[in-house]
């Protein structure tokens, strides 16, 4: 049994010290994910807090199948999306025309990860969420639409717009380098 498994087992028994160890093992990684799915740092901290409380309270449901990190990650994403849905005001369903997406970027670009991370975080929230769910979580548009309460078409067009903005940011960054 590796160190993480032991910590998880102790957490299941309600050991608060183990909970703290678990937090310090994953907080930086999970905070980055929370930032990707939150509209501000403060909200990301709230989501990290709420998500971690849920993890410790429901850790007994983790059966050991699949990666523990993946299980945690899903909880943080769901916590953030839940808040997004709660705080979002009633909106008329919008159908945005698809953006033609033909250009791609080169495959040998050397841009630091934190720069790309900031590019994504600068996207408008509705584009950023779709982009993250599609690219990072490999979700289908139908699933994204169900999770965010939007239509398939909106999900597709938001993704295309997100990519379009990111491409422009990359090109601007490369020009300035």
């Amino acid at each position: 049994m590796c160190n993480l498994d032991k910590i998880v087992e102790r957490c299941k028994k309600g050991d608060r010290k183990a909970g703290e160890q678990l937090y310090h093992m994953f907080s930086a990684k999970m905070f980055a994910i929370c930032i990707q799915y939150s509209k501000s740092r403060e909200e990301a901290e709230d989501n990290l807090q709420d998500g971690f409380i849920k993890i410790l309270e429901s850790i007994g449901q983790y059966t050991g199948k699949g990666s523990f990190e993946g299980w945690m990650k899903r909880i943080f994403i769901n916590t953030a999306l839940e808040k997004y849905r709660k705080n979002r005001s009633l909106q008329v369903v919008e159908e945005v025309p698809d953006v033609v997406d033909e250009d791609d970027v080169g495959d040998d670009l050397s841009i630091p990860p934190n720069v790309l991370f900031e590019f994504v975080n600068q996207l408008p929230e509705k584009y950023r969420l779709v982009f993250n769910l599609y690219v990072m979580e490999n979700m289908q548009h139908k699933e994204i639409a169900a999770m965010l309460g939007i239509s398939d078409g909106t999900s597709k067009s938001n993704l295309a717009r997100a990519k379009d903005i990111l491409k422009k940011k990359i090109n601007a960054y490369l020009r300035d380098e």
């Binding site: 930086a28 990860p113 289908q140």
Partner: protein
């Protein structure tokens, strides 16, 4: 077309870590400390409540050994000879002649003078005032000389005394015609029983506007659910008209929301078994079902090939400890009563189902559901005796929960239930 872009970002973002501020862990830690305190408080309160109920039961159930003791009644006796009083002797004063009207009117009483004599004080065989200050008058009652001088009042011992008293006055034939004093029944009884309770449960529902997007449900979509509960009751009856009841019951509350749009993914789609939350009227449910509620009636225009009409059913089962007061309206063969009280509910089951195409799939547990709730209940009781000590009980009732079932501040759902309990009660 943009695979390089996706790959670029995916690889980069997976490497990023950002250290959160130290206060995040402090808040998490304080959450668990507070939770532990809350739990301790609940255990303490539950313990106190249980102790009070136990104390009440003991108080009403243990027979009072002092019930045979009656306060000294005014003493009446007949002394036609002498009314002189010695200051050193104790006098017990009589009541008026009306205290024993049946005796004074009887012709069989062979008084030497007239049968309308006034009763006058008579001296007792006591020599000092301290003798009256006995804490245990029953001791005095056991003394035949004293017992014979007491006028009986209501209980069996008193009746015995009265017989002796009447015998002193005029002989046994008078005793035969003396007014019969019924010994009082022991009123302190208790009843244990069991019941089953079919019912209909729904709730008052309100979502504030901040949550309108995510909730997407309204009160008009909701209907109730039929259910069956049951339990045991225990009642004590400290007086003829009132009884106090408690027990242990199992009941179900919940709601059914129609007009839900259910998304059923195709076989090649990503499964919803692990990471999807479906939004229900009572908040998020971590979805374990194959299908999920994708959106509401408002978005039917977006309905896709995999969407079907369906409903969401949410069931919450609770163990309840009621504390109710019952007032008996009559004392006939068929007895009617009204009751009202409070109940403490501990949630033990929280299930949300999605119904579509004739299937009923378990989605999972709704989040942020209150596990401890207080309800109030009223009812009308009808009791019919099946034998001397067994009664058939019918009881239509109404129960209303005083707190929202959801802890989410945006969702206000207070369940209520109409029930029709049927059961048996055994008197002891």
């Amino acid at each position: 077309m943009s695979e390089n872009l996706e790959k670029l970002f995916k690889n980069a973002l997976e490497q990023v870590s950002v250290e959160p501020s130290a206060r995040v862990w402090e808040r998490i830690d304080s959450h668990f400390v507070m939770k532990q305190r809350r739990l301790r408080r609940i255990y303490t309160y539950s313990g106190v409540a249980a102790a009070i109920i136990l104390l009440l039961c003991i108080t009403f159930l243990i027979p009072d050994k002092q019930t045979g003791i009656y306060p000294l009644a005014p003493v009446a006796t007949l002394n036609p000879i002498d009314n002189s009083q010695n200051e050193n002797q104790i006098l017990a004063f009589t009541s008026t002649p009306r205290s024993i009207p049946a005796i004074t009117r009887k012709r069989e009483i062979r008084f030497t003078e007239t049968d309308t004599r006034m009763l006058v004080p008579v001296q007792l065989n006591m020599s000092s005032l301290d003798d009256l200050r006995v804490e245990q008058p029953e001791k005095e009652l056991k003394m035949p000389a004293v017992r014979g001088d007491f006028i009986p009042l209501v209980n069996g011992n008193a009746l015995e005394n009265q017989k002796k008293y009447l015998a002193l006055l005029g002989g046994h034939e008078i005793v035969e015609n003396a007014p019969k004093v019924k010994p009082t029944k022991e009123e302190r009884i208790f009843m244990v029983g069991g019941y089953i309770s079919p019912g209909y449960s729904s709730g008052s529902y309100h979502v504030n506007n901040e949550n309108a997007r995510s909730a997407q449900y309204d009160n008009s979509q909701m209907t109730g659910i039929f259910n069956l509960g049951g339990g045991l009751t225990f009642a004590v009856k400290p007086s003829k008209r009132i009884s106090i009841e408690t027990g242990l019951g199992y009941s179900r509350m919940g709601q059914k929301t129609s007009d839900a749009q259910v998304f059923v993914p195709r076989g090649d789609m990503v499964s919803y078994t692990t990471n999807t939350h479906a939004y229900t009227p009572l908040g998020n449910v971590k979805n374990q079902a194959k299908a999920t509620v994708s959106t509401s009636e408002n978005y039917l225009s977006l309905k896709g090939d995999q969407d079907e009409e369906g409903s969401i059913e949410q069931q919450f089962d609770a163990i309840e400890i009621p504390l109710a007061f019952r007032f008996h309206l009559n004392d006939n063969k068929i007895r009617f009563s009204i009751l009202g009280g409070l109940g403490a509910s501990f949630l033990v089951r929280n299930h949300t189902y999605v119904n579509y195409s004739g299937k009923k799939e378990l989605m999972g547990e709704a989040e942020d559901i209150r596990t401890f709730n207080i309800s109030t209940n009223v009812g009308l009781g009808i009791e019919y005796p099946l034998s001397k000590s067994i009664r058939l009980k019918l009881e239509p009732g109404f129960k209303y929960y005083l707190q929202s079932l959801s802890k989410n501040s945006n969702i206000d759902f207070k369940p209520y239930s109409f029930t029709f309990s049927t059961g048996i009660g055994i008197n002891f």
